[in-house]
Each structure stands twice: as structure tokens, then as C-alpha cells.
Symmetry: D2
């Protein structure tokens, strides 16, 4: 028996970078959490402790901050491509880079030039993978919390000996969406696509009479694929945040869909992938 | 030596209550985290395990949900007063109640009748204390995250042998505010006050050229006291979320206040209380 | 109407200090989270932004690390006293200091000289308050999670119109204890007291047949006061982590106290204080 | 262009199951967090909202609790296999199941029959995948926090224009390990293997003079593969929890490897896979 070194990667995780654009008195702010990971021929570092082919994670962090100054930070996807291509082109031992970015949104306070308030807990995300001359981009968002107070059913499901759930034709449907989408090419207006996808997700969630969270996710995913030709594939992960109608009959009260307990755990968890039938091969985009 | 039982309280914490108002097709939603705590003569429960004067925490939870149906849930302060007064009036062994509420805000999606999106991580809070016929209300908010990209200094401070901090006349100032305010009376439009206080806090933060976070907090607190006569006292807790300008000189780059590392820990923590010189005694409002 | 500045304090929170004692090849490790807060005459900093009496929080941090080298770090209580007394004695504008410490425990791996494994999520805590020549110490622990699989009842409780809870004479009792104790004097072997109190809390929890969590807390607190004369007062906060027996009758199964759902929220929350009848005045120990 | 439904799965996440074995007065406790996920032909649920092939997540939860009573809960891996095989065998539309388990460890208090204290934040984990007649098991642990106060170097690394890190031959090395290992067959004594792997990981970490975290991980992984023939592959994820020696020279103090700031973010993140050269194909074990 011999031991083989399989896939490895290493990098600097969670560089909290804030970039202020102050070319005019009206400042712009970009607030990112940047993680880098390098792939390549690092067997010696593992097997014998030889670091001569290892670019330190500290250097990767320095590069993030230096590039933020020298190149500026635009859209997360573009900044990720810049970093990923640098690491692959500039370091002989590196043949792949994965840059993961989270983007915190800020709003101006009363349209003030340099005072801001954080928009919410929702994050915009990007994952950029570079290998040699190729690059893949996955955009996304996480923790987009939505709720329908009616217009949601769950009925006609499979019943076995462990099934006790009653059917319902009117329930609360709530979830905290994590969505990621992959592109068919990289000639994309990242900000415009992000805004459009987010609007499509919200609008479809609102307008879909839901027969199941699965169906709602499919509707959201197809709306994006139909309207945004640059998107080749979309993945949705949605915890079903159960809202249980409280039984108030012991207190002589009806509860006509008005009083709910919002439960923590357990929760349903629905995951779905939709893609175009002519979507290009994902390569390492998701890995 | 004898052993004395000092202050005690008990209750049900974190009842996650969602109340839908569906009298018309245009639903309203109230999303609360309600905690109850009762005070009174519970010595027997502690000393001998005699529960005959103890209203179970499960009953307190039931009451929260039942009242949400029978009385509706309006502003958090009003719902807290309703619950607190019920426990004190209705249970002989209870002479005090403390109701703590967190309010999660939702926005309509595209003005939809029954589809909503969570506004952010910021929470509106209320703490209601009832003792006998008296009641105290403290309103507040938590996790309101704000940042100034300039207009903040820190200089002229005390220097001792352990001081290495350079003075600065231009820095990033960022904090996640927790603010609570106590009222001089209870004849208050809770929602209007909340909205006004939040606007005053944000506007003052934006417009104050800051010589220190202490000064900014004082300006915010005084603005509230000056503009809102119903507020008798205000307390502010503000972590100084340090944004350190990254030294880019090793890479031949200037950093003219553009690239920052947003640090996690340690952080400064500033706490301040402001009150009217004629503020009524706080009683148990804060305890 | 005039505006009055009430209580204020400021400091550096969560300095993550690791101190290695390496005088011999057998290293010792102390892993602390240290927060400082200073009180005094800082009105000018708030009102006019004048920092001339303000010792920067950065300096406070530096002092924590410098003292860790020059004085060493022994028990958290002693290190807190050292820091608190320094700030009050060394800075004219400071008349009080509050030092809060969390202590992370490490065990040796196989009795190794310099390799360690973290013991658990439980933390030892200390809060030291210094004002002028006086000092108060509160020791404690947090997140000590305990469970009894039987030997716990809840019955004979008060019943009102919102009570639906059945009585039980055999339930699971589980909690995550936060306990703090105040001393009557400061001539204490901090480590010995901590170990003894922790053992007393665990042993009493185990050996007490519980008629209510209140009674268990009282038994734990009295055991400490009876056995440890240096302890003047003890405060216990205990969430009742409900374990609900799952109804398996729909599946033709009994559940004789064997299968439980461990719920998250809501949870009961019981708080109790016990003290000696001759306990000295707490002063600012808890504030 | 057509839209294709790609991989989907759905289930009930985080069923918090506590199973007490009380056949004798000396109780045993098993405390698990169980998540189920089913795979199969659920296209109709997504595309048209037809639930007739969907076994509700509520039913999956019921099954977890019912099986805990009727079959008992032994080792997490065995319980996962039991559940996974049930879902695949018992439901025509299901052709795959993924059961994920976290195991919380408890110790007896003073060898008490029915009183326990939680061991720590470290979790034992298992992921079981069943497809048709086949099954794959991945065991693991997460949040095993270890530290070496010396015996760790980092030198001889690659240097580029963004490298400022000095070499070091004596540093603190700390990490919170997440480790998972896959088996070559399922005829395994799960508990014995878990205990042995954990001991090997700790012992190797302690005894390896580290030239890099990569090298330490490789040593740990190879020790497991060498000593445990049932393990076919092992994956290690290790954040490098940086401990920065504090510069105390401004205060006239040396810092000979004694005083460290334990930083939060950013952190290095090292990931490695080791496997036998004759390891069987992983199939869906990791997916």
C-alpha cells in the first residue's frame, strides 16, 4: 500500500477589505470579505515540509490589499478575476486559483457624501476559479429572507406509515435563500446581472402561488434562465423556515391563519439546480 | 451564618411570534421575539421545591400566543405592557413582570399584498417593566451599523508610557449601535417616536464632524433629547469597529485613506448615558 | 430643560491574549479574552470632543500585552486586579476601572510538554472592579452544560386559564449554567476556589432530586455558600433547555422516557441570587 | 433553449434527537443532530407542483424519532445506514439518501448513573450515502482545537514582490481541525475507529516538529492511513489560527515567544486529501 496526496489547496481566508473611493468629495465604499486559495504542485510542502514552491498566505493577503489600491475594487467578480489571474500567471507552482468574495452593501444616510448605513444581513457573493488561461465565475447571494403570508399550499404528498402531517391549502411560506448562478461566458455586466437576478427572484417568489417550496424554487430559477441569457446554470438552496399555526382551542380561540410560532430546528431543506440544455461544461466552477 | 434568597426572576425566553393581520387581502405582518420574566414571592419554589405559587413558563408562552390572537399585536411596547399588566394583575404571587421584545422588520416585495422580504439585521427593541400599578418602558434598537469614510479625527489624547497610537485627523469611523431610551410618561406614539429617534441618530451621525466616538454619541443622544420631549433618558453602546489603513509602502504604493483592514477584535467600546436634568426616577426600568 | 451626562465608561474589549510560560521545556499556557473599561471624568470628551483626559483604548490594549510580559499572567482575577489598579493609580482622570476576563482552558495532549488541546466550550470568567483604593472581584463560569436523564419532576404548579402543561414526575432536566460569585474579601486562592465551586455545582446538580430548576439552583448556590466561606454571594442563570418526549403513538410505539426532541426556542430562563445574611455591601461589584 | 432540472435533494435538517437508554438505572445518553436528504425522481414536484412522489420532510423527521425508539441509536454511522437504507428501500421515488449526523459527547458527573456534563464543543460527525443497494460512510470530527507553543517553523518559502513575511523557526501553531475519513468497506467497529483516529491525530500533531501546517496535516493523515487499514481516504481542513507575537519594544520589553495576540481574521486555510493508492472509487461518498 502506498499513500497518495490527493487534491489540496491553501490560501488566506476572510481578508476584510474596505475600499473607499475618494476622488471626489462624494465617496464610494466597497466592503468585501475576500478569500484566496491556490492549487498546484505543493506536494513537497506536505511530504517533506519544503516550502520553496509555497507563496505564503500572508503574501496572498498583501496582494489583496495592494491590488485594492493599485487597481481599485470594482465589482466582486472583476476583482476576483484580477486576483485569480495574477496568482496563476505570476507564480510558477500555481496552476489554479479560487477567489471567494462576499460583498456587504451600504446605503448613503440621507444622500450624504461620506456617511453610510449597512443595508442588511443579505450578502452578494462571487466565486471565481482560474486555471491556466481559463476562468469561471459564479455569482450569487445569501441570506435573502422572504415570506408569503398566504398563497402557499402543501398537499397531495406521498403518505407512508410515518406520515402524520395534515394537508394544507393555506400556510406561511418562509425561507432564507442562498442562490448561485454560473455564466456561459465572461462578457457580463456583473452589477446589472446581479440586480436583475435579485429582482427576478423576489418578483417570482411574490407572484408564484406555491404548491411546494420545490415548485417556487423552480419558478424562480426558470425566470432567471429565461430572462438572463448570460446565465447558464442556477442553484438554489432554501431552508423551509416552518411557521406553525398555534393551537389556541384550549383557550377558546380560533386561529384563522393569524398566530404562528416561527420554529428554529428542524427545518426542511430544499436544493435544486436548473440549467440550460446547451449550458457549457461547468469545469471546476463549482469545485 | 444564614443564607438569604436575593432577587430572582423566571420566565419564558424567546417566544418567536409571527402575527399576520389578514382582515383584508392586504396582509400586515408583525414578527417578534418575546421574552417574559416574572418577579414575586417564589421563595418556596427555590427552598423546598413547592411550585404552588409558580405560574409555569409554558403558561407564559401560551399567554403570549393567545393574547396575540385575542388582542392583536400592535407596537412592541404596547404588546409588552398588555402582557406585563396581565401577569401582575392576574397572578397573586407575581408582583413584577419584565417583558423584552425584539421586532424584525419586513418590507413588501414590489408592494405585494402578502409577500415580504426581511429588511435587515437591525432590530427594534422594547423592554417593559410592570410593578403593581406602575409601568416603565424602554425602547431601542440594536445592530444599526454605520460608517463615515472621513470627517472623523482622534487627536490630543492623553499619553502615557504605553501609548503608541499616532494622532489622526482623518480616519474611518464605524460602529454597530445599540441604543435604548426611557420615557418620562407612557402617553407615547411608539412607532412615531421610534421612527423619529432612528432618523435623528442617523442624521446626527452623518452630520457631526467627529472628534471622538464619545463626542458623536453625545451629539446623537442630545439631538434625541432636544427633539423628543417624551424621551427622558438615552443610553448608547457603541463598539468602535476599527478600520486600519493598510501600510502599502513595501509595495511602492501610497494609501491616501483608501484601503482599510476591517478588524474584528479587540475593539473600542464606548458607553454613554444622557438624561434630562428633570428626568423622573428610573425605578426598575433598567434592572 | 438641561441635558446631563450620566454614567459613562470606555475601554478596549476582547483583547485576545495568549501567554506562554516557557521558563522550562514544559510550557504552560494561559489563554484569555481581556476587556478593559475606564470610568472617570470624561465629560469634555463627550461634550466638546476634548480628548486631553482620555487614555486611548489602544493604550489600554498595549498595557494588557505589556503587563502580560512584565508581570506574567497568573489567575484571571489577579491579572484583572493588577490591570485595574494600574489604570486607577496611573491616570488622574480615571477613578474606576472594570476588567472583564474570559479564560479558555487547555489540556496537554498525552502529557506533552508543548502540545495542547482545548478542553471545551465552557469558560471561566472574572470581573474585577477597582475604585480608588477599593476592589471587588466576581468569579464565575459560563456555558457549563449539564443534563439529568431522570430524577427531575415538575408538578403542583399554579394553574390559570392559559395553563395546558401536564404535570410530570420524570423528565429530562438540562441547562447551560452561567454562575458568578462575589467574595467577602480578596485574600483568596482563586484557582482553588474556582475548582471547588465548579465541583460543588456539578456534584449538587447530580445528587439533587429536582422538583424544579429553581430548587436545583438553590441547592447548588447554598452548597457553595456553605462550603466556601470566602464566597459572599452567588448568582445563577439557567436556561431550561427543554427536552420534549416525542409522541410515538401514531407509529404504534411507546416512548417510556427514551426519545426526546431537544428544542431551541423558546426556553425557560431561571435566575436566582443567594447570599449570606452578613454579606458585605456589593458596592459596584455587579454594575 | 430548454431548461433542464439538474441535481436536486430535499429533506429535514437538524433533527435534534436525544436518546436515553434506561434499561438499567445506569442510563446511557446519545445526543445527535440528524439531517436527512432524499434524491430521486422529484421533477414533477418542481415543475408542476405535483407532490405525489414526495415523502414529506415531516415524515422523515418522524422516522428519525420512531427509529430511535424501535431500533435504538447506536453509533452515528450505524444509525445513518439504518435510516438511509429505509428511505431508499421503502419509497419507490427515492433512489438515494444522504444522512448527516453530528454527535455531542457527554461525560458522567462523578460516575453518576443519570447525571451528565457536556464534554466540549468538538463534534463527532458521520455522513452516510445510500444508493440502491450500495452505501458509503464518511466519519469525522470537527472543531478539535489544538495548539503547539513551540516546535513549529515557517521558512524557506517562495518570495515575490508582495512578500513581507519574515521567516520564523519558532512560532505558535494553532488550528481547529475538521477531519473526515472514508472507508474501504463497511465492516467497521465505528466507535473503535473513531477513538483510534482521534488519538492518532492528536498524537501526531503533538509529536511532529512542524515545518508548515501542510506538513503537519500530511503527517496526521498518513498516520491514520498507516495504522487503520479500514480507512481508504482522509481529508483535513485546518484554519491556521495565527498567534502574532506582540512587539513590546516600545515599552522597553523583550518578547521571547511569550506574549501573543490571537487573531480572528484573516486566517490561513489549508486543505489536504490523502488516500491509499488502492482506494476504491469514492462514488457519491463526498457529494
Amino acid at each position: 500500500m502506498g499513500i497518495v496526496l490527493g487534491p489540496t489547496q491553501y490560501g488566506k481566508a476572510e481578508c476584510r477589505l474596505v475600499r473607499i473611493v475618494r476622488d471626489t468629495p462624494r465617496h464610494e465604499i466597497r466592503d468585501l470579505n475576500v478569500s484566496t486559495a491556490l492549487r498546484g504542485d505543493f506536494a513537497a510542502a506536505h511530504i517533506s515540509g519544503d516550502q520553496s514552491r509555497v507563496l505564503p498566505t500572508d503574501t496572498q493577503k498583501n496582494t489583496v490589499y495592494a491590488f485594492a489600491e493599485s487597481h481599485g475594487v470594482g465589482e466582486p467578480e472583476a476583482f476576483g478575476l484580477l486576483l485569480g489571474r495574477h496568482f496563476v500567471a505570476g507564480t510558477e507552482s500555481v496552476d489554479g486559483a479560487r477567489i471567494t468574495l462576499e460583498d456587504y452593501a451600504w446605503d448613503r444616510i440621507d444622500d450624504h457624501d461620506h456617511s453610510f448605513v449597512r443595508r442588511g444581513q443579505e450578502l452578494r457573493t462571487a466565486v471565481v476559479t482560474v486555471t491556466g488561461a481559463d476562468a469561471w465565475v459564479v455569482s450569487g447571494l445569501t441570506d435573502l429572507i422572504v415570506l408569503k403570508s398566504t398563497g402557499s399550499e402543501f398537499a397531495g404528498f406521498l403518505v407512508d406509515e410515518y406520515t402524520t402531517l395534515p394537508e394544507t391549502h393555506d400556510r406561511v411560506l418562509a425561507t432564507a435563500l442562498t442562490v448561485q448562478w454560473r455564466y456561459g461566458h465572461l462578457d457580463v455586466d456583473w452589477a446589472a446581472t446581479y440586480d436583475a437576478v435579485r429582482r427576478l427572484l423576489l418578483g417570482t417568489f411574490a407572484d408564484t402561488h406555491s404548491l411546494a417550496l420545490q415548485q417556487t424554487l423552480y419558478a424562480m430559477g426558470s425566470a432567471v434562465l429565461l430572462m438572463r441569457p448570460e446565465v447558464a446554470e442556477i442553484r438554489l438552496v432554501a431552508p423551509n423556515r416552518h411557521h406553525f399555526a398555534v393551537d389556541l382551542t384550549p383557550f377558546g380561540l380560533d386561529n384563522p391563519g393569524e398566530v404562528f410560532h416561527a420554529a428554529d430546528r428542524p427545518y426542511g431543506l430544499i436544493e435544486a439546480t436548473l440549467l440550460r440544455d446547451d449550458a457549457p461544461d461547468p469545469g471546476p466552477a463549482w469545485l
